[in-house]
Symmetry: C2
Subunit: 239 residues, 2 copies
């Protein structure tokens, strides 16, 4: 836990800079900054939200669990963003568990205070809407991926999207262990491994976490990559 003013006021979050001083003070009165260690579980699937979490630094990973206990990565939330505002705003139980894969820092705002502030402040509402909309679209993309593409196509498109997000058209650095990426893509680690090696015949080269893409257009063609829908979004709604 730190001094709130230091963390939030100077503008790690553009959103908070935009808010009026009185509103910001109001929100922060119900808030706390928390630094958490790698591995921490922020909340469980089924919990009723008590805080809106905001990622100030680091990231959170969201996992879905089946009744049989199988667990898959659904999404990673990176600073700066809200952690599943949908659950907090509806007051419904979380559909996912949140874990922290690296030392990270979060702003916690009491759910009721957050809801009240969103209802009262158009600027905050605007930011929440932007975050929600982006997250919604990510989920839609993932569903299209799962329903319309083969495992290998998903892997190829994932690499292409990754390289674009990293602003490097012919290289991608895998953001976490291959096992996790596989579960994000809805396949096993073995299949992921095999997909990568089969894509070597489509012009990629894998070395550890680094993937070199020799012929992006060819890869895109073979994987049914669609620039319009698969391109990562530009963040014009900033939190």
């Amino acid at each position: 836990m730190h001094g709130l003013a230091d963390e939030v006021a100077p503008g790690a979050l553009p959103l908070f800079r935009a808010l009026s001083a009185s509103r910001r003070a109001d929100l922060l009165r119900n808030a706390v900054v928390h630094s958490v260690a790698s591995g921490t579980v922020l909340f469980e699937q089924g919990d009723v939200p008590t805080f809106q979490l905001i990622v100030l630094a680091g990231s959170a990973q969201l996992f879905g669990r089946s009744t049989e206990g199988r667990e898959v990565l659904i999404e990673a939330v990176r600073a700066p963003d809200l952690v599943i505002p949908a659950a907090v705003l509806t007051g419904a139980p979380y559909l996912m568990q949140a874990r922290v894969p690296e030392p990270s820092r979060f702003l916690l705002i009491h759910a009721a205070a957050f809801r009240a502030a969103v209802d009262a402040d158009p600027l905050l509402a605007h930011a929440v809407i932007g975050s929600l909309a982006q997250q919604f679209r990510r989920m839609v993309r993932q569903i299209k991926n799962l329903k319309l593409r083969t495992a290998t196509q998903r892997v190829g498109c994932y690499l292409l999207a990754l390289s674009q997000r990293q602003r490097n058209p012919d290289k991608a650095v895998l953001p976490f262990e291959k096992m996790l990426i596989a579960s994000e893509l809805g396949i096993t680690r073995e299949s992921f491994s095999r997909a990568l090696s089969s894509l070597s015949n489509s012009g990629i080269r894998v070395d550890g976490q680094i993937v070199v893409i020799h012929d992006a257009p060819r890869l895109a063609a073979e994987c049914g990559f669609d620039p319009v829908t698969d391109e990562p979004e530009t963040d014009d709604f900033v939190v």
Copy 2:
């Protein structure tokens, strides 16, 4: 096209009843009501939104298409709700095509006017947030379904959720053709058919569009149904 006042003012949409008269008049100045025939395409995947569509009566179905031309149902939007506010609010191209499966009526609001109104009016923003949040959660549920369950489990859980939505614990009426439901569940019509017949051994009875559930708890157990996450949501955010 009809008289707007008749359609909207009396309160087919609770939201509009709640808005101030001046704000409502303002919005409706940039709006139009459209009655469309079954089969109409409202917009294509890749289009940039020009209107926010609101379902006044009937429904819209959202389809995702792959570059190879395969097409699957992602979601159905029923009155009263907003049709993908995420696309309109971000201004990004639609990720899905919208088609109308039955004669329906829509309110069309110019995108810019809608965005302006959302930014200016906390009540409208509240409603949009509610709709977005619900839609987000539906997408998360669908992803969990696809990644964590077998085809047969998905079918069973679908039936259970359906029967709850229809407030009838031991019966479900399929809302559209089995082929479409199959594509919503991410399987072929053949697999859907087989899943239904295999579930006959778990206490269901299928007759056309009607499915009788003899032993819901048993079905739930065998399909890994999770009351906390699979239960349809209560609509406390109403449009």
